[in-house]
Each structure stands twice: as structure tokens, then as C-alpha cells.
Subunit: 306 residues, 2 copies
């Protein structure tokens, strides 16, 4: 009998190849998901494509695919519209966050930010257009029996809305320069990062017609992983260079941003990220061997350097 | 036998009362459609409510209700989520259009614009949040047999997307100070204004389970009315004061904006608005007496002064 551990180690060799394969699927789907740069007005479509197709880890859509797999769906194409939708929402939020009236950032995914290339007006509209198109992609999902389209749509609007993703961004703006508690930082991180990571996973699970127990496990995995991911981001902002990150490093400190290292120090932040990663892995026990990719991704994210 | 004309004249007396009644319904629904200003983070919800609940004609949601009525649905509450959704999208587009990096406007619906009160960062996010919530409201629709939720969602994302609403706004930005043809101005107006007016009407008709012929008539009505509405807006910008409009008057001329009066003159613009209104009214013949409110609204819009 092959042990769980043996299977995991066998798969682990292939993680990089797996991520590469999924990323290729996603890149192709993303390119098809928005109009060609030749479609009138060309500027907006060029700007949408510039930010959307600038590479990046594609963590969120990969999680959507892996969550569907973990809940028994072996055909990734059924999940691609949802996977693209979460990446479009993520990209829109980056474009708007980088604006001069928000984080005022010049560098993203190793390239000048949207407003640096297209001007602020078009950057705002490119973000708006990506967000709007994301909901068009939700309409393209073929829902599974347990989770009709209305549920998928409602969850997407909630996660991206004023109590979650946008709540995190607003709280982040308001926090600048103020003394924060760990609860404040956690509120920001749960909104800005964890909400969309949880959504990415839940959409995949729901399209795979997950049982209520499976959906709960995926959600708990996402809540812990999302927070761990953002804490590691905070740590990397302090310890890595802009070249390594593809975005401006050290900016959190400069802007007195709400981060875990600023509130509890680097060492405790590391410990907390590790604790949350273990918690995430624990939640996967409910899902069995099919969740091996989610397991590996969580482990890989813990030790990432960019 | 009561003639069509007699019924219409009888109803005409009651148009103001009808509009007032519908507006009350809509105001109540809008207030419930977004979180209270006490919900954390308070700033974003206060900003959403500030712009959304600032009054205004509520033309788009009224058209949604009237289109449903024209297609035989007598119960307006079934249409309210869609009616609110179009008004949220309209309001988000106004907030973003008014930003300093776009039209840079200080006055809207008789009050300081969102970024004047809350700052640019929160104004961008309040727009984002209203757009996102609009799609949450689409999820609350109980669709009729002929038009499942996926169709309603797809149409909404298209009308608000980069080829229609946002296309008009981008073309408008790019047109400033350049010499334009009437076809260019028409492209902008169809995107910026007509697309969402057509959507407002179509959502109402589809929720009322319109026949294909009815839906076609409503669409043709909306295309002509939407363009007529924007031409009259252009005319009012030249001929009315800021107090009468509740927004900055004369700004189109100052910014060398793309308008009908600028390209074909005031008199020809009047004639074109009138021609389009007649065309819109002609399309209603398909719908019978139930479309009397749409008929009256189109006539009223032609002679409006703000």
C-alpha cells in the first residue's frame, strides 16, 4: 500500500511542472478573456491587457483549479472562467491601489504601473473594465447542482465588495501613519488578501459540486493560507529587494503601512505565518489525497522569496 | 370605446404622481441596497451612500420599472434589484467621471463631488464598491423563464464594460480638444449614455418575461431615447445655469467636449433630439397601451429643463 506521505513526495517532484502547466492554461484563457488591443477604443483594451498579461504568480486562479481538483473535478476547463474572473479582480485592485491617490506606486510585476504608462484617467477605467469583465466571466460558468449561478455571483460580489476586499483597502489607507493593534492589521489583511484567496478556492470547490464538508475544509484552508500569504508578503517587503519582488520593496516601512513585522517584529511574524500554514494544512485532512496540490502550494508559499 | 389617445391623456395628468411614486419606491430600495454608514469601515459606506442617495431623476431605474410594466409585469418589487443595480452603476460612473484625472468636476446633483468630500482615494473605492454591489444585486433577481440569470448578468457586464459604457468614457477623454465628426460624438454618446439606458429597459423587460418582439421594441425605444437624452443634456449644458442643472454648466464648451451642439449647432441638435424621440415613440407601437408610461416619459424628457 502506498502511504499518503509517499504519494505526496512523488507528487512534490512534479510541483513546478504542475504550476507551469496550470499557468499556461491560465495565460491562454486570460488572453482570450479580454478584447484584443485592436478593438475600439484601442487604449482601454491595450491598458487592460498590459496589466492583466504582465505575468505574475497567478496564485489565485491556480488555487481555483487546485480546489476544484481537490473536490474531485478532473477537467480544468470548466473552472477557467472562474479562475480568470478572480485574476481580473485581483489585477483591477492592483491598478487602483497603485494610483497616486492611493499607494502611489511606480512598479508592479517588474514593469511601470498602469497610470505611469496610460495616465491616471485610463488607469482608473482599465481597473473598472477588468472588474466589470470579471462579472461577465462569472456569467460564463456552468454551475454544479449544489451551487447555482446566483450563489457564485453573490459570493464574488461579497468578497470583492465594501466589507471585504475594498474594506481592507480603505482600512489600509486610513491606517497610514497611525499606531495599530494586531487586530487592526489582521482586519486589513483579511480584507485585502484573504477574502479573494478564500473566494478563489470556494469558486473552484463549488464548481466541482463540493459537499458541505469539503467546502468548509477549503474555506478554512483559505482563511489560514490567505493570512499567512500576506504576512509573508509583509516580511518579504522588509527583507527583499525591488528586483527580487518585481515591485517596490521597503515601501511599507516608508509609508508606515499596517504590517505584521511593524507590529509584532520579524521573528514573531515568521512564527505566525508558520502557525497559520500548519493550520491551513490541517484543514486539508478532510479532503484526502486529491488535495495534494493545495498541500504543496501552501508549503511552497511559506518558503517563497518573491 | 376609449381611444388610445384618450387613455394616454388621462394617464398624462398622473405622470408626475406616477414618477413620484416610483421614485419613492426606488429611494427606499436604494437605501437598503448598500450597508449602513455605521458598518465598518464607516468611511466607504458613508461615501457610497453620499453619492447614491443624493437624489437625482432616477431615470434609469424608473425606466426599468416602466419597461417591466410595458411587458405586462404589474408587481414592481420583482424588478427593484435590477432597478437599483442600474442606478448603482450609473452613480459609480459619475463618481469616477468627476475625478480630477477625468472631468475634474466639483459639483454633482447640487452637492460637492465625492472626491471633494472624501478625497480621491476613497472616491475611487466608493465607485468600485458601488459597481461591485450592483452585481450583488443582479444575483438577487428572480429571473423569468425566457431569460435566466446568466443572460441578465452577461448583458449587464457588457453594457457597463469596455465596449460600451467605459468605451464611451475613454473616447470622451481622448476626444477633448480634437475636431470630431458627428459619428465620433455619436459613438461616445451611445457608450456613455445610451448603453445603460438600453440595459435599464431590457432588464425590466426580461424580468417581465418579454416576448422576443416586445424585447426588440423596448431595445429600439431605448437606443433612440438614450441618444435623444444625451443630446438634450448637451443642449442644456449650453443653455442652462449650474443652479438649474445641479452640476457645472457650460463645462462641455470650456473643455472642448464632444457634444452635438459643438458639431452641428444648437438648432440642428434640437431637431435631431426631436427626431430621435419620435423614433423612440414609434418603437412603442409594438407594445400597446401598457407602454403608456414609457411614452409619457420620453415626451417629458424632450421638454425637460434640467
Amino acid at each position: 500500500m502506498t502511504s499518503r506521505k509517499a504519494i505526496r513526495s512523488q507528487h512534490a517532484d512534479g510541483l513546478s511542472a504542475y504550476l507551469e502547466k496550470q499557468r499556461n492554461l491560465i495565460e491562454k484563457a486570460l488572453s482570450k478573456a479580454v478584447p484584443a488591443a485592436s478593438v475600439r477604443p484601442a487604449t482601454i483594451h491595450a491598458a487592460m491587457r498590459y496589466s492583466l498579461l504582465a505575468g505574475g504568480k497567478r496564485l489565485r486562479p491556480i488555487l481555483t483549479l487546485a480546489a476544484a481538483e481537490a473536490c474531485g473535478l478532473t477537467e480544468p476547463t470548466r473552472v477557467l472562467p472562474a479562475a480568470c474572473a478572480v485574476e481580473l479582480i485581483h489585477t483591477y485592485s492592483l491598478i487602483h491601489d497603485d494610483l497616486p491617490c492611493m499607494d502611489d506606486d511606480d512598479l508592479r510585476r517588474g514593469r511601470p504601473t498602469s497610470h505611469k504608462v496610460y495616465g491616471e484617467g485610463v488607469a482608473v477605467l482599465a481597473g473598472d473594465a477588468l472588474l466589470t469583465r470579471a462579472f461577465g466571466l462569472i456569467a460564463e460558468i456552468t454551475p454544479a447542482k449544489r451551487y447555482p449561478l446566483a450563489v457564485l455571483l453573490e459570493e464574488t460580489a461579497k468578497a470583492a465588495g465594501s466589507r471585504q476586499l475594498i474594506a481592507g483597502q480603505v482600512a489600509d489607507i486610513e491606517a497610514e501613519g497611525r499606531k495599530l493593534s494586531i487586530a487592526d492589521v489582521r482586519f486589513i489583511h483579511e480584507g485585502k488578501t484573504a477574502a479573494m484567496i478564500v473566494l478563489s478556492l470556494r469558486l473552484g470547490a463549488m464548481i466541482a459540486n463540493a459537499t458541505p464538508r469539503e467546502l468548509k475544509a477549503v474555506t478554512q484552508f483559505g482563511q489560514a493560507l490567505g493570512l499567512a500569504f500576506q504576512i509573508i508578503d509583509d516580511i518579504l517587503d522588509v527583507t527583499q529587494s525591488s528586483e527580487q519582488l518585481g515591485k517596490s520593496a521597503g515601501k511599507d516601512l516608508k509609508a508606515s503601512k499596517a504590517t505584521y513585522p511593524a507590529v509584532i517584529g520579524l521573528e514573531s511574524s515568521h512564527k505566525e505565518a508558520n502557525r497559520l500554514t500548519q493550520k491551513a494544512l490541517g484543514a486539508l485532512k478532510e479532503l484526502g489525497f486529491q488535495s495534494v496540490r493545495l498541500h504543496q502550494i501552501a508549503e511552497r508559499l511559506m518558503i517563497r522569496e518573491s
